[in-house]
C-alpha cells in the first residue's frame, strides 16, 4: 500500500471531567496525499477543530489523545516528546487559525515574526531570511511588501492580517497546512480572495491542506475531498463533487438541503429536526439515529463503520449490503 502524506488512523480525543470522560473525537480515520486539499466540515461541536489540533499537537489540556495513530510520511507523530514535536510543527506542518489577530504577536513587526520563524526552521542567514520573508509577503499578495514588512499587525486590515498568517504558515515550506476556519472572521469579498490564495499557493508549492470549516460553500470551492463530521465521528468522506451533489449519509443529505442556495427556487429548506447531541449523551449505535429519517433497529444498537457506497464512504447501515432492510425489501 502506498504511503500517504498524512494518515490519521482511528484517532480518539478525550476530555476527562468530574462527571466522566467525554469522547470528543471518536475513531476518526482519514488520509491526505501530497498537494491535496481535504475539507473537514461539520457543525459546532462536531470535533473538526479538535482533530486539527490533535494533528499539530496543540490540544488544550485536559484534552488528550486516547487512542489511534497520526502518521506523517509513515512516521508516528502523535506520541513524540515535546522537543521533537516542536521541530515538526512549523517546519513540516503549518497552521492557520480563524482569528488572525490572536495568531500574530502585537509587539513585534511582521518582518521580525517571519524571519524568526524562518531562522528557527531553516539554516538561512538573517539577510537571506529577510529576502525570503519579503518574497513570502509578495506571494500572498501584500502590496509594497518591502515597506510593509516593518509594520505591526495592528496596522493591517483583517484580510491582510490573514495573508500574513498564511505567509507565516508557509515560512519553512511545510508539507501540509492545517487551516482552521481561515475565512470565518472575514467579509465575503475578502473570503473569496483568501480562498483563491490558499488554492493557488498549494498548487504552486505542492503543499497539502487540511481545511477545517463549517461552510460547505468554501469546501466546494477549495477542496478535492471532503470529510463530513458529526458528533466526533466521520459521517461521510469522499470526493467533494460526489459528496455535495450526491450525498449518501442521511446527515449529509439533510445538511445539503439546509443550505439556502441562489438559483434553487425552494420555498422551504430541508430541516433536520433537533440538534447535535451533547458530548455527555451521544446516543448508542449511530450518533445520528434520533434525528435520522431513515432510522431502523440496527442503527439504535450497533455503531456503523465507514462503508463503501457507489461514490463515497459513509458510516451508515443503509450501505451494508447484507443487512439493510430497504435492500432486502427490494429483493423480495
Amino acid at each position: 500500500m502506498p504511503n500517504h502524506l498524512l494518515e490519521v488512523d482511528r484517532l480518539k480525543v478525550v476530555f476527562p471531567t468530574r462527571r466522566g470522560t467525554l469522547v470528543a473525537v471518536d475513531d476518526v480515520s482519514f488520509h491526505i496525499d501530497q498537494g491535496e486539499v481535504l475539507g473537514v466540515v461539520g457543525e459546532s461541536g462536531a470535533g473538526k477543530s479538535l482533530t486539527g489540533a490533535a494533528i499539530i499537537g496543540l490540544l488544550e489540556p485536559p484534552g488528550r489523545i486516547a487512542g489511534g495513530e497520526i502518521r506523517l510520511d509513515g512516521r508516528r507523530i502523535d506520541n513524540l516528546p515535546y522537543s521533537q514535536l516542536r521541530r515538526i510543527r512549523g517546519k513540516e506542518i503549518g497552521a492557520v487559525f480563524q482569528d488572525p489577530l490572536t495568531s500574530l504577536n502585537p509587539l513585534y513587526t511582521i518582518g521580525k515574526q517571519l524571519t524568526e520563524t524562518i531562522e528557527t526552521h531553516t539554516d538561512m542567514t538573517p539577510t537571506k531570511a529577510r529576502e525570503r520573508a519579503v518574497q513570502l509577503l509578495k506571494d500572498v499578495g501584500i502590496p509594497a511588501a518591502e515597506k510593509r514588512i516593518e509594520s505591526y499587525p495592528h496596522q493591517f486590515s483583517g484580510g491582510m492580517r490573514q495573508r500574513v498568517v498564511i505567509a507565516l504558515a508557509l515560512c519553512a515550506n511545510p508539507r501540509i497546512v492545517i487551516a482552521d476556519e481561515p475565512t470565518t472572521a472575514l467579509d465575503v469579498s475578502i473570503q473569496a480572495q483568501i480562498i483563491a490564495l490558499l488554492k493557488r499557493l498549494c498548487q504552486e508549492h505542492g503543499t497539502a491542506v487540511m481545511l477545517v470549516t463549517h461552510d460547505m460553500g468554501v469546501i466546494a470551492e477549495t477542496a478535492d475531498r471532503v470529510a463530513v463530521m458529526y458528533a466526533g465521528r466521520v459521517a461521510e468522506i469522499g470526493p467533494v463533487r460526489d459528496v455535495i451533489k450526491h450525498p449518501k449519509h442521511p446527515y449529509t443529505i439533510g445538511l445539503m438541503g439546509a443550505i439556502p442556495a441562489i438559483g434553487h427556487g425552494t420555498e422551504r429548506l430541508t430541516q433536520i429536526e433537533g440538534a447535535m447531541p451533547r458530548l455527555t449523551d451521544i446516543p448508542r449505535g449511530c450518533a445520528f439515529n434520533p434525528r435520522c429519517p431513515k432510522v431502523f433497529d440496527r442503527c439504535r444498537s450497533e455503531r456503523p463503520d465507514l462503508l463503501a457506497t457507489e461514490t463515497s464512504l459513509a458510516s451508515c447501515w443503509l450501505y451494508d449490503d447484507q443487512r439493510a432492510p430497504a435492500r432486502e425489501a427490494a429483493h423480495v
Binding site: 439533510g254 441562489i262 430541516q271 440538534a275
Partner: protein, 347 residues
C-alpha cells in the same frame, strides 16, 4: 412588483445617522485636531409593503445594523424620516407619543447568547413585553399567552420554567422570536438573526420565520451579510456600501440582473456550491475607512468602470429596469449588465 394602492407599512426616507468620533474637546484644542464625523448611514430610502420582506445586505461596517437600530428607534436619526403607517415616528419627542407604536415594531438580535437575560426564567423573558405594554393582565392570562407563544415557535410550554443557559443557540433564537411576538407586532426588524447559528439550525429558524410571516401577516426588515439567505427570504433587496444604498431591486431581479458593480462583485464572491466551475471576476481591494470615504462614488477605488465623473460626483439613485441604482456607469450605459443564469438545480 406591482404598485399597490395601499400605502406601504414602513417608509424610510433619506435616513441618515452620523456619529461624532472626534477626540475630546480639550485634546482638540491642545493638539489641534478637527472634528471627525462618521457618516454611518447617509441618505437611505426604501419602503416595505405590509406582509413583505425587505432585506438589507452588505459587508461589515456598511451601516446595515445602524439602519435597523434607527428604524426601531434605538438611535435617533440625524436626518430623514421613518414613517410607520403614515406617521413619522422618528420625529416624536416624547415617550408618550411613541408608546402606541412601540408595541407594533419589535426587533430580533443576532446573538441569542447576549440578548436574553441569563437570570430570568424564559417565561418571564417572554412575558416582559406583555406586562410592559399592559396587553394582558392577570397571571393566568399571561401564562396562557406565553404557553401559546412557546408553542408557536415550536418549543414546549414546559420550557418556560427553564433558564436561557439550558438552551442551544437555535432554541434561544426561538425564545427571542417568541419575545418579539409577545406584543403582537406587525413589523419585525431582524438583525442577522441566523448568523450565529449552524446551517441545519439556521434552516429551522428561517423556515419558522417564513411560517410566522404567512400565519401572522408579519412585515420583515431582514438584515444579513449572507446573500444566499437574503435570496431565500426576501421580496426586495437593498445593497449597502459605506452607508449608502447602491442598489435596490426586487429579489428575483437583483439576483438575475445585478446592475451596480458592487452588487455584481458581491454575487461573484458567493462560493459556488453547485460547482458549476463558472468563471468570475477576481475581487480586488477592501472597504475603505468610513471616517474618510473617497470623494464621489464610495465604490470608485475598487470599481473597474470608474472614470473621472465617478471620482468627483456622488451618484444618486436612478431607475434602471425594475431596479434603482446609484451608479454613473449604469446611467451612462458604460457598465455591462450580464444576466446571471441561475445555477442548475442539483439532481
Amino acid at each position: 412588483m406591482s404598485e399597490t394602492a395601499a400605502r406601504p407599512l414602513v417608509e424610510v426616507q433619506d435616513l441618515a445617522r452620523y456619529f461624532d468620533v472626534s477626540k475630546p474637546l480639550l485634546n482638540r484644542l491642545l493638539e489641534g485636531g478637527k472634528r471627525q464625523i462618521l457618516r454611518a448611514v447617509d441618505g437611505v430610502s426604501f419602503d416595505i409593503p405590509r406582509g413583505r420582506t425587505f432585506a438589507l445586505v452588505g459587508e461589515s461596517g456598511c451601516g446595515k445594523s445602524t439602519v435597523a437600530r434607527c428604524v426601531v428607534g434605538l438611535y435617533p436619526l440625524s436626518r430623514g424620516k421613518m414613517i410607520f403607517e403614515g406617521v413619522d415616528i422618528a420625529s416624536m419627542r416624547t415617550r408618550e407619543a411613541m408608546r402606541p407604536f412601540r408595541r407594533r415594531l419589535q426587533m430580533i438580535f443576532q446573538d441569542p447568547y447576549a440578548s436574553l437575560n441569563p437570570r430570568w426564567r424564559v417565561r418571564d423573558i417572554i412575558a416582559e413585553p406583555i406586562r410592559a405594554h399592559a396587553i394582558l393582565s392577570g397571571r393566568e392570562a399571561i401564562d396562557a399567552r406565553v404557553d401559546e407563544l412557546l408553542t408557536q415557535v415550536k418549543l414546549n410550554p414546559r420550557d418556560g420554567e427553564k433558564y436561557p443557559h439550558e438552551f442551544s443557540g437555535g432554541q434561544r433564537q426561538r425564545i427571542s422570536i417568541a419575545r418579539a411576538l409577545a406584543s403582537n407586532p406587525e413589523f419585525l426588524v431582524c438583525d442577522e438573526p441566523t448568523s450565529a447559528l449552524d446551517v441545519s439550525v439556521q434552516a429551522q429558524i428561517l423556515n419558522l420565520m417564513k411560517d410566522l410571516q404567512r400565519d401572522l401577516g408579519l412585515t420583515y426588515l431582514f438584515i444579513s451579510h449572507n446573500l444566499a439567505v437574503v435570496h431565500h427570504m426576501s421580496d426586495e433587496v437593498g445593497v449597502m456600501y459605506l452607508g449608502r444604498l447602491v442598489e435596490r431591486a426586487p429579489s428575483k431581479e437583483l439576483f438575475r440582473f445585478p446592475r451596480h458593480p458592487y452588487t455584481q462583485m458581491l454575487l461573484d464572491t458567493i462560493p459556488d456550491i453547485d460547482m458549476t466551475g463558472r468563471q468570475r471576476q477576481p475581487v480586488a481591494g477592501e472597504v475603505p475607512n468610513p471616517i474618510d470615504p473617497p470623494p464621489g462614488c464610495p465604490f470608485n477605488p475598487r470599481c473597474a468602470f470608474a472614470n473621472d465623473r465617478c471620482r468627483t460626483e456622488v451618484p444618486v439613485a436612478k431607475r434602471a429596469g425594475e431596479a434603482l441604482v446609484a451608479c454613473h456607469g449604469i446611467e451612462e450605459g458604460r457598465v455591462p449588465v450580464i444576466e446571471r443564469v441561475p445555477a442548475p438545480v442539483a439532481a
